[in-house]
Amino acid sequence: MVETAMPIWEVFIRPRSGLPHRHCGSVHAPDATLALQAARDVYTRRGESVSIWVVPSAAIIASDPNDKDQLFEPTSTKVYRHPTFYDIPDEVGHM
């Protein structure tokens, strides 16, 4: 028996205050209130979280894996964006 599909929600949890929310999985739920409840039951049974976000999966816009090189590869040649690219004499000390 396949019935009406429950909407899917992506779950993000903040492990403790000061840290960002991180994606941890998904749940099925008819609305946001129940999605939060399900996320709490499924992903935080052992004190993993102090805060939960749920977002409708359909609302996530992702980059195309095929564009990976085009999007991210150019940065690997821009070594001058890193501090170690620049030579500072030892006698100047830590900079």
């Binding site: 009406t4 429950m6 899917i8 998904s26 609305d31 049974r45 894996p65």
Partner: protein, 333 residues
Amino acid sequence: MYTQALNTKDTSDTSRPGDSARLAVFQATIDAEDKIEANDWMPEAYRRTLVRQISQHAHSEVIGMQPEGNWLTRAPSLRRKAALLAKIQDEAGHGLYLYAAAETLGVRREELYAQLLSGKAKYSSIFNYPTETWADIGVIGWLVDGAAIMNQIPLCRCSYGPYARAMIRVCKEESFHQRQGYEIMLTLCRGTAAQKAMAQDALNRWWWPALMMFGPSDTDSIHSADSVRWKIKRFSNDELRQRFIDATVPQGLHLGLTFPDPALRLDEASGHWQHGEIDWAEFKRVLAGGGPMNAQRLAHRRQTEDDGAWVREAALAFAEKRRQAKVTRVAAE
């Protein structure tokens, strides 16, 4: 293991032009120990193998709640009851992590669930045995979860990212399951003669089914080559079974129990415990639906699904009503 019914080779060919180049990238990614992610290109056979493996694994977690639930209201103390309830909740959670991982491959949970309820999809043979006494709860934690851990630790390095991440979560939680089971056994074995006899009886009944969890012997396992190449499977059934036996036999001896295998002996030269022949006819019978509890497990699952249908319908209807009310309110403003 939880996916021991995967003993069929996927032979259908759905390749398209340009796939050979993509296949080379795919295999190179795996060979480099990188992960394949949900949106990456993958061969259809890889996708299908994973859907079947992950969903069988999920079904096993879900059905696995039943044998333990049988003792929930009869746990001997509040401490044991709280631990058992937490363990059963974990099994539900594990099922959900796994269904979520399977869904990243483009199938719907409802479809997978329908396959379980129709009997089309399999789940581990181990859950088709009855839990006759409280000691069975101890043995399940110790042996069944112990065997599951042995199988699942290599799966944490599976090439498919969402599955590997789900397994990491599962493995962290399984450790408590095994320890609480062993503690139950320890308590029974240090108790009265009757309690110790109950522990021995449970071990006698569950030892061979636990060994069968690792699936057919390597000589009869026909699906492995692809799974090995794709780094879904890293160790053979027999390798994992041997590791489990080597780890478990000393634990049983520590309890002062004996194993129901007259051929079991330590091979001094190799350091491995050698075991007697497994009854593969029983394994096949139970997997095919002929175990003592198959019919009841599925009947119970279907009943639960039917009983809960009105709740899901009501919750969806309520969400829809709220959405409509919001649309009307916004339109009025």
